[in-house]
Amino acid sequence: MMQRRDFLRLLGAGGGAVFASGLAGRAMADYGSNKMAGAYDDFYFVQLSDTHWGFKGPANPDAANTLKHAVAAVNALKAQPDFIVFTGDLTHTTDDAQERRRRLAEFRDIVSGLKVKNVRFMPGEHDASLDNGAAYKEMFGETHYAFDHKGVHFIALDNVSDPGARIGEAQLDWLKADLSRQKKDAPIVVLTHRPLFDLAPQWDWATRDGAQAIELLMPYANVTVFYGHIHQEHHHRTEHIAHHSAKSLIFPLPAPGSQSKRAPLPWDPAAPNKGLGFREVEAEVDASRYRITERPVSAG
């Protein structure tokens, strides 16, 4: 198991900028499998998002290769993550149900090349909104779920299977029940596709009932949200809850609300992967803190 100090050393050897989410410090002895004082069992996971497999267009003429390059880049990491999560829009949308399944299957085949086999998926609106997640579920299973990893409670929320971007009453009830089993100071990470808060509703960058999810999460002292959808890095807080969006693996989008149209930023032939990337998230369990390292799409 990689220790935090080793990981930071690795960052110093060639990592990108580090952003600390700065959650309140706390003792690690309260939870998790590592209750021995001083016995760090930090871990890190990789977040990839918005791969849009099947996209064709001038915003990324190399779309048939970008995902494959990302897989190679993750596989080239010196220390492999404990697990990998894809936060939605695995595929680019299509009206053709058969084509949707074909794209999902191709995506699944490509990412099966990841060295790390503990991979978590969730849908984006491009995967799930036109059939309420039917094709996605056939291939990847439930669209919302929870799991624990080394003392951190992870919750995957589906805010895309409803084309109106609702989490929905049933899932909110499930979230409430799941949270009721957690201590108020438990480290909780929420994974989702759309922002849970109103980032730019005039661009449909919101979750219609996201405020209800945030209200349920608010009593918990150590909550961090990682999401996708907006194709760029963005950091925000709703009171003590930190929200971090990831870059995409297809094309970058403009800053939230910065222009009238949310059109992709122009592709740069001199820098074809500009604005794309994935991130490493190191969980410092002892401090309920997450260090984020942004990585480019290149295996070099």
Binding site: V160, P201, D204, S260, R262
Partner: protein, 121 residues
């Protein structure tokens, strides 16, 4: 909300509105009535000009999908089911521009389905 707009959302049923695609405006008892067609992936018209201080009725006809109509700056939104007219009412009390968007994901061109309301003195 910074604006002092008074907004009332009204949803009415009166069958399919033929001819709505042109967004013909009319004046019924002082109201500004604007017909808007929603069809993947456009609103027609997508720029709606109204006068300050006069009540506005937007009459939506959706042709192919339960599109959404959302003006976040006015806190107005409605689902637009096909086969009926959906009315959205409000009274603008200051000049300015307000972007609106389809907020029900409707397909590959969903991101292009937006417009703006321009309120003039």
């Amino acid at each position: 909300m910074k604006t002092l707009w008074r907004a009332v959302l009204g949803v009415g049923l009166s069958g399919i509105c033929l001819g709505a695609a042109l967004g013909v405006g009319k004046d019924a008892g002082g109201e500004q009535v604007i017909r808007v067609t929603a069809q993947r992936f456009t609103f027609t018209p997508n720029e709606i000009v109204v006068k300050k201080g006069r009540p506005v009725v937007l009459e939506f006809s959706s042709l192919d999908f339960v599109h959404g109509f959302n003006i976040p700056s006015l806190k107005l939104r409605a689902d637009l089911p096909p086969g009926k007219i959906t009315r959205v009412r409000f009274t603008p009390d200051r000049a300015g521009e307000h972007p609106f968007v389809c907020d029900n994901f409707c397909g590959e061109g969903h991101e292009d389905m937006h417009g703006r309301i321009v309120v003039k003195e």
